[in-house]
Symmetry: C3
Subunit: 128 residues, 3 copies
Amino acid sequence: MHIIHGRARRGNIYVCEASGPCLLRHTGTDDALERAAIEAASAIGAGHVFVVMLGNAFPVNVLNQLKSVTEVCTIFCATANPLRVIVVEDGDGRGVVGVIDGSSPKGVEDEHARIDRHAMLRRFGYKQ
Amino acid sequence: MHIIHGRARRGNIYVCEASGPCLLRHTGTDDALERAAIEAASAIGAGHVFVVMLGNAFPVNVLNQLKSVTEVCTIFCATANPLRVIVVEDGDGRGVVGVIDGSSPKGVEDEHARIDRHAMLRRFGYKQ
Amino acid sequence: MHIIHGRARRGNIYVCEASGPCLLRHTGTDDALERAAIEAASAIGAGHVFVVMLGNAFPVNVLNQLKSVTEVCTIFCATANPLRVIVVEDGDGRGVVGVIDGSSPKGVEDEHARIDRHAMLRRFGYKQ
């Protein structure tokens, strides 16, 4: 079992795919981010996995659209946190089994933290 | 790799979230179930994971709605069975890689069991 | 941790389910494929997991419909590749934690491979 560390970066939308012909397929509109997506998908090194690097956008802006793509089975994460991808290797193949997304919880929200959260969500326009 | 055991409990709907500020965010309408959800999410201890404790409702009543929430990537299970959550830990982070939901199959359905199943589904109103 | 090898086969649609009463529930219209689905689900041996064997159809023809089934949490893969299913066992239960779908990428697409891909997608009717 391998743990691959990475960090999401800002930019436009990029996709890398590792499929049947065993090439990392890639497209994008920003060279640096396209390279970052290729690097992440290469590090993962699993078949039928894709990486999207987002910039000037939040995952919530595209997540439901990605989930409804007819070639997409599942989405492991959508995050701006440092990310570790858990990969299992067997023979000439590798598969993602999960991710470690950011840090473990450090405590339970109390009333003060709840008020702060509601204020933050209102500031973001998430809550009325 | 850790295996965390638990059991779903009946009640209303509760959500615990472990996100960026590393607090378990929680809300609910029943104290006992809210505590159970906090306890489950604390035991899992992974970032960007949520727990919903359902009462007087079945997962099928809410699963598609949860899947279509724009912040939700994937759902690991929806069950009333005893549940074991498989967690990988690395540094200060943890991630869920899967679940063991109930028991392994003990056999293959035969014609008699198939008739029983159809009768049960008709009783539940699942099948005409 | 177990790694179960298998290969998708052609045919009509088949479903095996391993649920509460711990029987592999199955249905289908082709005996050989129904047996293949039972064999795959038995080898996986996990609760609340299903296997669909497709014939004369592609996963993209049914994937979004399967994702929107109200009893379905997640789909691990949709593939014609040789498939390895990663299973964790604990006590009397087993759970799928991921899959190894085909082979790892062997390189990064260059301009020549990109032109070939676009030609292939146009041939399939995927791209104008």
